[in-house]
């Protein structure tokens, strides 16, 4: 490790998410631990992150030399230059702010510093038209997939607590193609903000955040609490930081429009670019990492640190192979130093398979005051070509309707006893007509577990008034590897998560 000085940029002291010294009431050392990554000589070189947003001020002195013009595009006005559109309220500053978090230059006397300050950002201007179409989204997410490594998105279906929506046809195909073929076959990394809908929303109803192919990122504030606007869902993989503390100076400091700087960037949309920056560091450390390697590294190196649920609802729980998770924060806060270190030693995980674990398709009534318990006993396609022995993502594809959709709660329990809340109550969702039609609820909580055995799905109403409904179909989709994913990796720290999971996998194989 090389001894390092702090960046000299004037806003660096405000960037508590990079280096938390306890400023403004924060908790010291609760940060992204980027200095440990920088000290390993890793700063994001040769990695490009696309900011899919309202444009980027690529003339900004803190951004202009880190701007990848070739990989950029303006879909809102259909040209190659995604410079933001002026409005009197400076509304279109969001993309510029996100870009600065990823790749603001270091030691240049301007604003602060990016997580990956030697990486490049591409601007994809696609939020700034009065409408949104599938084509704009699809073209954005499929833009230059071999020039762009990481796509960062801070948008999605309305977080009104009653919308159930996701990528449409062309967009879905763009994402699938990105992970299958992007980055010359290694797969693009799609980073997604889990949403600002607060506790009344569930990001599993946001098909972008809930997708297996996006890494959905939630946010914590400077003392480790979840932010009050945080949405939670079982598809969240990890967390980074954003505003929300009482002290107004605890926003995210970054670049702003027209060459300016700000300290007030906010929301989970400020959290996603931080994650994109950390992944850019990991990709410089090991350019051969696949989209799945990045997810495995995230699971293995994220830290519980001192993250906690301000309301005491969601506790840290250990899954069947010893990985701690939290419904709000996924596997914890990203640790850039640890991720870079592990990325350098990483061996690409074995092939991934998809197994339909089973289906329950008899329609059953959901009573008002009692839960329905459905069970699927699966051998996880053992002995077939699609055998899954070590889990990555699990999806419960569910069709149901209810007199009040927002009052339905769903819990999925794995054979190893890990219980995921795959749908929480959404008080504002008064749908009584559409329900869910083959909606894929995803959980990351059973990562590394063995899928063989009995899975159960618990469906119930959480309601003050009598409700009724019908569960019509549940299909269990298991995604993961046949071979143990970490067997080729050296273990340097016996207390690391890698050591714990690897040991669990080895002991099982002895049986």
């Amino acid at each position: 490790m090389r001894p390092q000085q702090d960046p000299s940029d004037p806003y660096f002291p405000f960037q508590w998410y990079l280096k938390n010294t306890g400023q403004n009431g924060g908790k010291a050392k609760l940060d992204l631990n980027v200095e440990a990554a920088w000290a390993q000589g890793v700063t994001g070189k040769n990695v490009t992150t696309a900011i899919m947003d309202d444009g980027v001020d690529y003339i900004h002195p803190d951004l202009k030399y880190n701007y990848n013009a070739r990989a950029s595009y303006d879909f809102s006005s259909n040209d190659a230059y995604p410079y933001p559109r002026y409005t009197d309220d400076w509304f279109n500053s969001h993309g510029t702010r996100c870009a600065g978090e990823v790749a603001a230059a270091r030691d240049n006397g301007v604003c602060g510093v990016g997580v990956a300050y030697d990486s490049k950002i591409a601007g994809i201007r696609m939020l700034d038209q009065p409408y949104m179409t599938d084509l704009i989204e699809a073209n954005s997410m499929g833009h230059e997939p071999n020039l762009i490594d990481i796509y960062s998105a801070s948008w999605g279906p309305t977080d009104d607590g009653k919308t159930v929506d996701g990528p449409r046809n062309a967009t879905m195909r763009a994402i699938v193609r990105g992970v299958n073929e992007g980055r010359n076959g290694l797969g693009n990394i799609y980073v997604w903000a889990s949403g600002d809908g607060g506790e009344d929303d569930d990001c599993n109803c946001d098909g972008y955040a809930a997708s297996m192919w996006t890494i959905s990122i939630n946010s914590a504030i400077n003392d480790g609490q979840n932010a009050h606007y945080d949405e939670s869902c079982s598809s969240t993989l990890a967390s980074t930081f954003s505003n929300g503390a009482k002290d107004p100076n605890t926003g995210v400091a970054t670049t702003d429009l027209y060459g300016k700087c700000t300290t007030t960037h906010s929301g989970t949309s400020a959290a996603a670019p931080e994650a994109a920056g950390v992944f850019a560091l990991a990709l410089e450390a090991n350019p051969q990492l696949t989209w799945r390697d990045i997810q495995h590294l995230t699971v293995l190196t994220s830290k519980r640190n001192s993250l906690f649920d301000a309301k005491g609802r969601f506790h840290w729980t250990m899954n069947g192979v010893g990985l701690e998770f939290n419904h709000l924060f996924g596997f914890g806060v990203l640790d850039a130093g640890a991720m870079v270190a592990l990325a350098k030693q990483w061996k690409t995980v074995p092939a991934r398979y998809h197994c339909e674990g089973g289906t329950v398709s008899e329609t059953q009534e959901i009573p008002s005051s009692r839960s329905v318990l459905l069970k699927i006993n699966t051998n996880a396609c053992q002995g077939t070509e699609t055998q899954v022995s070590y889990l990555e993502h699990v999806q419960a594809v569910i069709t149901l309707n209810a007199t009040r959709r927002g009052d339905v709660e769903l819990f999925l329990t794995s054979p190893m006893g890990t219980r995921s809340m795959i749908l929480s109550r959404r008080v504002n969702d008064d749908d009584h007509r559409d329900g869910f039609a083959k909606w894929p609820f995803m959980t990351t909580h059973t990562w590394g577990e063995y899928p063989q055995g009995t899975w159960s799905l618990e469906i119930s109403f959480n309601s003050q008034t009598p409700q009724s409904g019908f569960i019509k179909e549940w299909t269990l989709m298991l995604h993961g590897t046949r071979d143990p994913p970490y067997s080729g990796l050296p273990v340097s720290d016996p207390h690391s998560k890698l050591a714990i999971v690897k040991k669990a996998h080895e002991e099982r194989n002895k049986l």
Partner: protein, 264 residues
């Protein structure tokens, strides 16, 4: 083998230029690429046709062409690619377990999209000192008007030959002047000085109206959706106040405003 490498080259060309005219693309998609798709169990070629070939012209036609294209795309796509879970493991897909390949699996979604994000979501403080609060914003594909285009300053290493602006000042004032010379819809959500007719206080009460299908009303409808939360409340609390003749009188100037912009 030679055939396939030729196709690969063709695809590379598409990737490199990305927005070539449609005719070429159709030729590739329909004639040659389909053959390749039949041989390879990938959706590459089909995707190329599906979302890389939108016309260079402008946004309106981009949206207008969507319905027709979607139908065609869906048909060709479903022949080769599982849209839902059912074909997994079925005979419909001869090779259901391609190693390390992801499949398109999702519930079918209908109707218009409503998206939020960027500074339109949550509580944000705009301008460097956080002086301005953001307003919530939801975007939809329900209607398709267009805002002004921002300037395109030259990035580092680019010149006017690349179609960008060399003479540029990175200030709010420069962009404001640049955009004000254009003929486009005033963004009343975020501009303080739109012509009075398009101010949001006029659009908001327009909420509950059943609008007719003229172009003018389509633009109004868009604002309805952007304000959808407020409108839902408004409908409940202002029942029967709709049909307000004041509102009907106010729609015209929105169209007139387009004319006003030409003056510059």
């Amino acid at each position: 083998m030679g055939h396939i490498s030729l196709i690969t080259m063709a695809v590379v060309v598409i990737g490199a230029t990305a927005y070539i005219p449609q005719e070429k693309d159709h030729f590739l998609t329909d004639v040659i690429l389909r053959e390749v798709v039949d041989r390879m169990s990938k959706d590459f070629a089909d995707d190329t046709g599906a979302y890389l070939d939108f016309p260079e012209t402008n946004r309106i036609s981009l949206g207008a062409m969507m319905p027709g294209r979607n139908v065609k795309d869906l048909e060709t796509e479903e022949q080769q690619f599982p849209v839902d879970y059912d074909p997994l493991g079925d005979s419909g897909n001869p090779n259901p377990s391609i190693r390390d390949q992801e499949y398109l699996q999702h519930s079918t979604l209908w109707g218009h999209q409503y998206m939020a994000g960027g500074a339109g979501e949550g509580k944000q403080r705009l301008k460097p000192d956080g002086a301005i609060k953001n307003s919530k914003e939801v975007k939809t594909d329900a209607s398709l008007p267009a805002y002004c285009n921002p300037p395109n300053p030259c990035p580092v290493g680019y010149s006017a030959d690349d179609g960008c602006l060399e003479q540029f000042e990175n200030t709010a004032g420069f962009s404001r002047e640049f955009q004000s010379a254009q003929e486009c819809m005033c963004d009343s959500e975020h501009m303080f000085d739109c012509p009075a007719s398009s101010g949001r206080e006029i659009q908001s009460p327009g909420a509950g109206n059943d609008l007719t299908d003229s172009d003018l009303d389509r633009i109004m409808e868009q604002f309805q959706v952007e304000d959808q939360h407020r409108n839902l409340v408004a409908k409940k609390f202002h029942v029967k106040k709709d049909g307000n003749p004041f509102l009907k009188g106010e729609k015209l100037p929105v169209a007139a405003k387009k004319g006003i912009g030409v003056v510059y």
